[in-house]
């Protein structure tokens, strides 16, 4: 009976994965799914509105779902619709996450005023009372160098940036201060000629319709304001729609509409959608969305496919599913050491492969959406490190079949995806590449190779952790297992040496082509160099007989510290040509990780006789 266990587990997991990949279901009568797939240009990339909604919420509050005051949960798309068309309602949703106590004091708020678990989410209404003071404090904070700002200064600047994002998003389709903007747009064909007639009559000194003239003036003022502050650029260019340069925001489209006398069809659609949303008319809303979408399909054949895939990808969240699978893998594989080694071991291995295939698909989709090699920023480097490490673990498990590969795969896969999840809170992870990084060749060679080197060094370190934990705390580190682990670590360190060296060298060549020098002693370069030196150190110490198994393991654990420094620590120094990733809370996590590794090295340095696995009575 229990020989069917691996298959049953695999089927169950596969079903869960497939369920997560189904298209999202939205409650209610509005076709929110279709609306969420409409395209817009933001930050230089054409993306579905779904992405804008989700990433904005991640930036504001660190999670994607919104709780309304009535207590129900709104989807990101619903929130976006309220932001765009019913800002007075959106302002009552608690979407600003504020944790720093001094920032709360600045806004005359206390944690008790906050909503949600942890009472750290606040509404725009609450925040808006202290905006002037917030602006003043952030101006003071900005004068300080980023690398030396205090946590309060960083929190203040972050909140100010969030508020600006929020205001710009709200000011994308509705002109602030104009009461019936959408109605005016809907009646563009009558309002504008009437207004023009009134204005020319006024200039000729003849009796004129003052209200019509005023309406026209309001519209053109609104166009100017919208054009300068609008965050979304959802209006595709008339004509050649594939080019990003032609997309406009509502203000720009309105301005050209006023100039030509014809209301831009895209703007007309968005105005109509707004009226339908405000007026609780789902049927009209759906009709407009479908017509607009049909028009886009006609004019941009194949282009909409990308937006559809991205919206599906957003809701599927494959990396979150993979993260959960890795937890199950870890548990199954560890239990396989206690009981049913064969069945649980194979079940765990099957799930590792499933999770890895899911990650591969996720990374592949990202590469297709962005048109880039797999590693383009810190977020994608975390995904890739996990992917490579788990791939190596699959190879190890296939060779040794002792669940060590699976345990490590679960551990490393989970950790890297967790790190990636936190890195996604900075905004859209499919971002455009800055000028010097805009080279697919170097991204594919240098960045990928170096990341593989990081992954391998981490893998060696985690295998060594297993050795120490099993050897010191359990009796299960028998000679064959110890030898197997030693061979695994040694092999992975060789692999890591090769890849981190080649990756560092490729970086030097890229720097020579770009900045004029092969090696500049830049913090990130130094970090990579230290990883190469450390891996070389392990190998040379081994070959010189200076360390044996336990020494090898301790040095490999130290490799974890070295790699996490090079991956994250150097970014926190804020200097050098490589500083494009600066984080805050991450510093404490890094410190905690380093402390944990030091603790394990100390444990591993205990005399061998004290290890539970080696203290068996002499045979």
């Amino acid at each position: 009976m229990k020989r069917f266990l691996p298959l049953a587990v695999l089927l169950l997991a596969a079903l869960a994965v497939v369920a997560s990949l189904l298209p999202p279901r939205y409650k209610g009568e509005y076709d929110l799914a279709a609306f969420s797939r409409l395209p817009t240009l933001v930050n230089g990339r054409i993306k579905p509105l779904d992405t804008v909604a989700r990433t904005s919420l991640l930036v504001l509050q660190g999670r994607q779902s919104v709780s309304t005051p009535e207590g129900r949960s709104a989807s990101p798309t619903e929130w976006l619709l309220d932001m765009l068309y019913k800002p007075e309602v959106a302002d009552t949703y608690a979407t600003f996450e504020i944790v720093h106590p001094d920032v709360l004091t600045l806004l005359n708020l206390t944690p008790d005023d906050g909503a949600g678990v942890g009472k750290k989410r606040f509404t725009y209404l609450q925040v808006s009372k202290g905006l002037a003071e917030l602006a003043r404090q952030s101006q003071l904070a900005e004068a300080v160098e980023p690398a030396v700002r205090t946590p309060f200064q960083r929190a203040v600047i972050q909140l100010r940036d969030s508020v600006i994002l929020y205001q710009r998003l709200q000011g994308s389709l509705l002109a602030p201060g104009v009461s019936n903007f959408l109605e005016q747009l809907a009646h563009f064909d009558t309002v504008v000629p009437a207004g023009l007639a009134a204005v020319s009559a006024k200039q000729a000194g003849q009796p004129h319709d003052a209200a019509a003239a005023k309406a026209l003036l309001e519209l053109s003022d609104a166009a100017a304001v919208l054009e300068s502050t609008g965050y979304l650029l959802p209006i595709p260019p008339v004509g050649d729609r594939g080019i990003a340069a032609g997309w406009r925001n509502a203000g720009g489209a309105l301005r050209t509409s006023l100039e030509s006398g014809q209301l831009n069809p895209g703007l007309a659609t968005y105005a109509g959608l707004g009226l339908a949303w405000r007026g609780y008319q789902p049927a009209a809303f759906n009709t407009l969305v479908h017509e607009y979408r049909a028009g886009l399909d006609r004019d941009l054949p194949g282009f909409m496919g990308r937006c559809d895939v991205e919206a599906r990808f957003n809701s599927a969240q494959p990396f979150y599913t993979a993260m959960l699978l890795y937890v199950v893998v870890f548990l199954l594989a560890v239990f396989s050491w206690l009981k049913w080694p064969d069945e649980l071991g194979r079940a765990a291995f099957a799930l590792v492969i499933l999770a890895w295939v899911l990650s591969t698909a996720g990374i592949g989709v990202r590469m297709w959406l962005e048109g880039r090699p797999p590693v383009t920023n810190l977020y994608s480097s975390a995904l890739f490190v996990g992917w490579v490490a788990v791939a190596l673990c699959i190879v190890l498990e296939r060779l040794y079949r002792n669940a060590i590969g699976s345990v490590t795969a679960g551990l490393v896969g989970f950790s890297t995806l967790l790190i990636a999840h936190h890195l996604a809170l900075g905004g859209d992870t499919l971002e455009m590449m800055r000028a010097v990084l805009d080279s697919n060749f170097w991204l594919a060679t240098h960045v990928v190779t170096v990341t593989v080197g990081y992954a391998a060094t981490f893998l060696a370190g985690f295998l060594a952790l297993l050795y120490v934990i099993r050897g010191v705390f359990t009796k299960s580190l028998d000679a064959p297992t110890a030898d197997a682990l030693a061979r695994m670590v040694y092999g992975i360190v060789c692999f890591a040496t090769l890849f981190s060296f080649v990756g560092t060298v490729l970086g030097g060549i890229w720097a020579d082509q770009s900045w004029g020098r092969f090696w500049g002693w830049d913090p990130k370069e130094n970090g990579a160099l230290i990883i190469v030196l450390w891996n070389a150190l392990i190998l040379h110490a081994r070959w010189g007989g200076m360390i044996r198994q336990r020494g090898l393991m301790n040095l490999a654990i130290m490799g974890n510290i070295v790699t996490s420094w090079s991956w994250f620590g150097v970014n926190m120094l804020g200097v050098g040509l490589h500083s494009y990733g600066f984080m805050d809370a991450a510093f404490w996590w890094l410190l905690a990780f380093v402390a944990s590794q030091v603790a394990f090295i100390l444990v591993g340095s205990l005399p061998l006789s004290k290890w539970r696995s080696f203290s068996a009575p002499a045979r």
Partner: protein, 385 residues
């Protein structure tokens, strides 16, 4: 005696020394990286890497605390060469290691040569401007030019050291002595305000000096800032003092005067290195991603001409695509003035190819070594199975 020498040689070529040296180099690189936050990359390179000993200020006293880059790198080189000669046994199985280490020797030598020979300059071009020289980043010169003859200018350029030492300079081509009264390594200049009497009168008597105040500033180590020196220079001719001028790279134009019947220009500027060709900026482009400020590409369209007419062509310099010409490499480094001025970095590094070759050799060696190892591993497993 012979045994001691032999022991010393054995130590120098031993693997244990290699391990110790690797540990030392990791510590050195780590310390240098952390110090970079305060001192900037250039100072840190001099302090930690281009030196035999690292000095730290401990309680006001400069102490030698650690071996520097030259010591560690040098010992590693000796260790490696010695290992090749005395320890490595030539076996086909170890050919990978041999190659890898040979390549490493080449890399270390290459980096040493780069450190000694590489020179960096900057070249700033406004739109339409032509220059046939590049400027040093850090070194300044006092340029006194005889402009009497309309056909050519004769320049006497005094480097920084005598200026910093407040020396008096006498040069055969100059009919006056140059007396350096004051020198500020870093300064700011500001116009004198209408409130006379509240500031101390400066010592300048000629040129723009009387209207400008120079205030000394502490040296900056930040990467995007330059130290702007200034100096008060008195020129003393045969009949007495001609006056005192304030000079600084911050002043836009050189200051003119007459002496001994000739017209002169004086300017404290970043040291110029003249080239046998000229570059003209035709257009600088700063492409951004649509609807954002995120830079997509920087490029400079430049016209390259030589006075003898041999070369007259347009080149495009952009990110990851430098211009290599006349032993120099020109990179797109920055821009100013709202995208109308381009800043190029000019590098002379005759040994630039060595790292490429060395890394190729090392990679080949590593691939060979690990490939042989891996093949052996699989053969053993197949035999055991």
């Amino acid at each position: 005696m012979l045994t001691t020498l032999k022991d010393l040689r054995d130590l120098l070529v031993s693997l244990k020394l290699t391990v110790v040296l690797i540990v030392f180099s990791i510590i050195l690189v780590m310390a240098a990286t952390l110090d970079q936050v305060n001192l900037g990359v250039w100072v840190v390179q001099e302090k930690y890497f281009r030196t035999f000993v690292v000095f730290w200020k401990v309680g006001g006293v400069s102490l030698a605390v650690f071996p520097g880059g030259y010591s560690i790198g040098g010992l590693l080189l000796i260790n490696l060469l010695g290992a090749h000669i005395y320890r490595f046994k030539w076996e086909w199985r170890k050919v990978g290691i041999w190659f890898a280490h040979a390549g490493l020797i080449l890399l270390l030598i290459g980096e040493l040569l780069s450190g000694l020979m590489q020179q960096d300059f900057t070249l700033r071009l406004d739109q339409g401007q032509t220059k046939n020289y590049s400027e040093s980043f850090r070194n300044i010169e006092l340029a006194i030019t005889d402009t009497t003859d309309p056909k050519f200018d004769e320049v006497v350029a005094i480097p920084e050291r005598p200026l910093a030492r407040l020396e008096t300079i006498q040069h055969p081509k100059l009919p006056f002595r140059v007396v350096v009264k004051t020198f500020f390594p870093n300064s700011t200049l500001s116009m004198r305000g209408p409130m006379l009497g509240t500031e101390a009168p400066g010592i300048a008597t000629q040129g723009v000096g009387p209207q400008v105040i120079a205030t000394v500033k502490p040296l900056t180590y930040k990467e995007d800032e330059r130290n702007i020196p200034s100096a008060y220079i008195e020129l003393v001719g045969a009949e007495g003092s001609l006056g005192t001028w304030l000079v600084s790279p911050a002043l836009e134009e050189p200051q003119t005067f007459t002496a001994a019947g000739r017209t002169w220009k004086m300017d404290l500027r970043f040291a110029r290195h003249y080239r046998p060709f000229s570059l003209t900026l035709l257009k600088f482009s700063h492409d951004r991603y649509a609807g954002t400020d995120i830079p997509k590409n920087f490029s400079s369209r430049i016209r390259l001409t030589t006075p003898d007419g041999r070369d007259d062509r347009e080149v495009l310099i952009y990110m990851n695509n430098p211009l290599r010409y006349a032993g120099l490499t020109f990179y797109q480094a920055g821009f100013e003035n709202n995208d109308s001025t381009t800043v190029l970095q000019v590098v002379r590094n005759p040994s630039w190819l060595i790292p490429y070759i060395a890394c190729g050799v090392i990679t080949l060696g590593l691939l060979l070594q690990f490939g042989i190892h891996l093949a052996g591993f699989f053969t053993k497993r197949r035999a055991a199975a």
